[in-house]
């Protein structure tokens, strides 16, 4: 090795050594372990190294697991849709309706700030709002719509969708806000100038140019909701188990690590597929806004 190469390598190791070790130690090796264990066999009360597809077969044939996967997908999709329905107009309002930068930044911070509050706290808040002694029930009783507290609001899938939407909506607003912010106001003027009113201008100019933000936001909220296990245990009901809770059970009470690993591997592949698709469609709509 020439002194020059030596210098290069010592510099390389100095700068990139620790991050690379960190990545392999805490990310790559655990993934490999998870994948390996998913092929093991369970011999109560222990698991023995093996290479067989029984666990995966169980995941896809046992209706219990398929059902929980589908339910999780449904909940995550609903959360994405509601977050989009609320988040897009909000971001649009901040960028195009609010005139002063000060007010805009303040409102944007108001949307983002909950991210600094403990996740658990934010989920727990909805227990208080929706519970039998909660704000919603008290309000409805005060207005006289109901005369005794209703248990309908809490411990079901609706409560879960509400909670998860609330928790993850900043992840929808942020990318859309960024995408809308980059659209030059001149383009909207140009559209008006060419004879197109506000509605069609939105459909033909604003929406296509912010599509990347929509895809990014939908991907984030979907994947985050898909992997959530706190909301189901706080506000979800007996039919509210999500796939993450099932995994948790396999590693805990059920003591079936191989099956848990197989389930985790399936989730990982699902999420990776979604991210790949979203990246593709984002790249497809990628536009040079200079």
């Amino acid at each position: 090795m020439t002194p020059r190469q030596k210098r290069y390598w010592s510099g390389f190791v100095g700068v990139f050594g620790v991050p690379l070790v960190w990545t392999s130690l805490f990310l790559l090796i655990p993934y490999a372990v998870m994948l390996a264990v998913s092929f093991w066999t369970r011999k109560f009360p222990l698991f023995v190294p093996d290479f067989q597809f029984g666990n995966f077969r169980q995941v896809f044939t046992d209706p219990q697991y398929l059902e929980v996967l589908l339910r999780t997908g449904k909940i995550a999709a609903l959360v994405s849709v509601f977050a989009l329905a609320l988040g897009y107009p909000l971001a649009y309002f901040l960028i195009f309706i609010v005139r002063t930068a000060k007010v805009r930044n303040f409102l944007y911070m108001v949307v983002i700030v909950p991210l600094w509050v403990s996740y658990l706290l934010r989920a727990y808040v909805w227990k208080i709002i929706l519970g039998t002694g909660g704000v919603l029930n008290s309000f409805l009783m005060w207005t006289g719509i109901i005369d005794q507290p209703s248990g309908l609001f809490l411990y079901n899938q609706t409560a879960m969708v509400i909670t998860l939407t609330y928790i993850f909506i900043p992840f929808m607003v942020m990318p859309i806000y960024t995408a809308l912010e980059k659209i030059p106001p001149r383009l909207i003027e140009a559209s008006h100038d060419l004879g197109e009113g506000p509605f069609w201008t939105f459909l033909r100019v604003v929406l296509p140019l912010s599509w990347g933000g929509v895809v990014a936001g939908a991907t984030l909220t979907f994947c985050l909701a898909f992997g959530d296990f706190v909301a189901p245990s706080l506000v979800g009901g007996p039919d509210g188990m999500l796939v993450a809770n099932t995994v948790q059970t396999q590693f805990g009470a059920a003591l079936n690590w191989p099956l848990g690993s197989a389930l985790s591997t399936v989730i990982l592949l699902l999420v990776l597929t979604i991210i790949t698709i979203s990246e593709r469609s984002e790249r497809y709509g990628k536009i040079d806004l200079d």
């Binding site: 030059p184 001149r186 383009l187 003027e189 140009a190 559209s191 008006h192 100038d193 060419l194 004879g195 197109e196 009113g197 509605f199 069609w200 033909r204 100019v205 296509p208 140019l209 709509g285 536009i287 040079d288 806004l289 200079d290």
Partner: protein, 372 residues
């Protein structure tokens, strides 16, 4: 010719009280090429934006073909704009950009008609081969042409051009000036352009509107503005002028002599300066290129002969710029001498010396001092 656009006492006052446009009256004739000219902040762009419908006048009335359009939104005006930065839709192909205004909610043209119009618009600007490109793949000049084609495809009554050539380099800009002018002559559409570049305005326009602090300083043909500026401001803005301050020392028959503490210059009285009397403060405006070098001791009635001290000399290729000082207050005087022959170099006055110069008295204009 009939008036197509009429602005009556139009003002734009922004919150905070800034008067961007201050009560302007302006009529534009059908088929004319009119330029709004002025430095930044003079209100020219605001005027254009009010015509396009992007800004609402605080006061006044704008009409098109005799109809009041003051309150109608931009998408209901048969007016199209070529934006300064072109504002092409980056997610659409050149073809779809040009077709944008032909496929709107209300203007439902048939596929064939749209295709035909797009083709003719792109052909007009010589970009038929680029129809499937995205704007991001085009050069600045090509984008400019797409912006033109997009606006013209809508067949507007009036085409607004907001500093259309300012983003191009000098050579291309000069080429596009000629092309734009030819396009205007071919189409017969009314063009209204905004620019801060007086050369561009002189080359392209039928009439120029010089604006200053939200008001119209003068309206006229390029020749009018150049030869008969109404004020020292216009004289200075249209082509460079030396504005020299002094006192009127004599008056005769439409001409005045202005004393600059020692040097006396003769000039023609501007229309607005008819009321000047001997002893009044005055400004005399001299175009650098109209001053000549005098070597003999010739002195004619029509010539204004004066002495100035040459301080510096700059080579400009086509001509030589002399920085000189004139009068007892050593006012700056720029003189451009044409280098029509290499031999003229020998006749250049030496630096640091006093030399004699002259110009036709009719070419120097005298204004009252307070007009500045």
């Amino acid at each position: 010719m009939k008036t197509i656009i009429q602005l009556e006492n139009v003002s734009k006052i922004y919150s905070g009280g800034f008067k961007a446009v201050d009560g302007i009256d302006l009529g534009i004739l059908e088929g004319e090429f009119v330029t709004l000219l002025g430095p930044s902040g003079c209100g020219k762009t605001t005027t254009l934006r009010m015509l396009a419908g992007f800004e609402e006048p605080t006061r006044g009335r704008i009409s098109l073909d005799g109809q009041d359009i003051t309150d109608s939104p931009p998408y209901r005006r048969p007016i199209n704009t070529v934006f300064q930065d072109y504002a092409l839709f980056p997610h659409l192909s050149v073809l779809d950009n040009v077709a944008y205004g032909l496929r709107t909610g209300k203007r439902k043209l048939g596929q064939a008609l749209v295709a035909e119009r797009v083709k003719s618009a792109l052909g007009m600007v010589g970009l038929l081969g680029k129809a499937d490109n995205r704007p991001g793949q085009l050069s600045g000049g090509q984008r400019q042409r797409v912006a033109m084609a997009r606006a013209l495809a809508c067949q507007p009554r009036v085409l607004l051009l907001d500093e259309p050539l300012s983003a191009l380099d000098v050579k291309l800009r000069e080429k596009m000036q000629v092309e734009l002018k030819q396009l205007h002559q071919q189409l017969g559409i009314t063009f209204l352009m905004v620019t801060h570049d007086q050369k561009e305005a002189l080359v392209m326009s039928d009439r120029i509107v010089v604006m200053h602090d939200g008001k119209i300083a003068q309206i006229g043909t390029p020749e009018d503005l150049y030869d008969r500026p109404a004020s020292a401001y216009v004289a200075d803005f249209i082509g460079a002028s030396n504005l020299l301050h002094g006192k009127v020392s004599a008056l005769s028959d439409g001409f005045a002599e202005v004393d600059l503490d020692g040097a006396v210059l003769r000039g023609r009285l501007a229309d607005s300066a008819r009321g000047l009397a001997v002893g009044d403060a005055a400004v005399i405006s001299l175009r650098p290129e109209r001053v000549q070098r005098v070597t003999g001791s010739e002195s004619k009635e029509s010539l204004s002969v004066f002495e100035a001290r040459v301080m510096n000399r700059h080579f400009h290729g086509y001509d030589v710029r002399l920085d000189a000082k004139i009068g007892g207050r050593y006012q700056d005087l720029a003189i451009d001498l044409r280098r029509d022959s290499i031999a003229m170099v020998d006749s250049l006055p030496p630096m640091g010396e006093v030399a004699r110069f002259a110009m036709a008295a009719a070419d120097a204009l005298v204004f009252a001092e307070d007009q500045q």
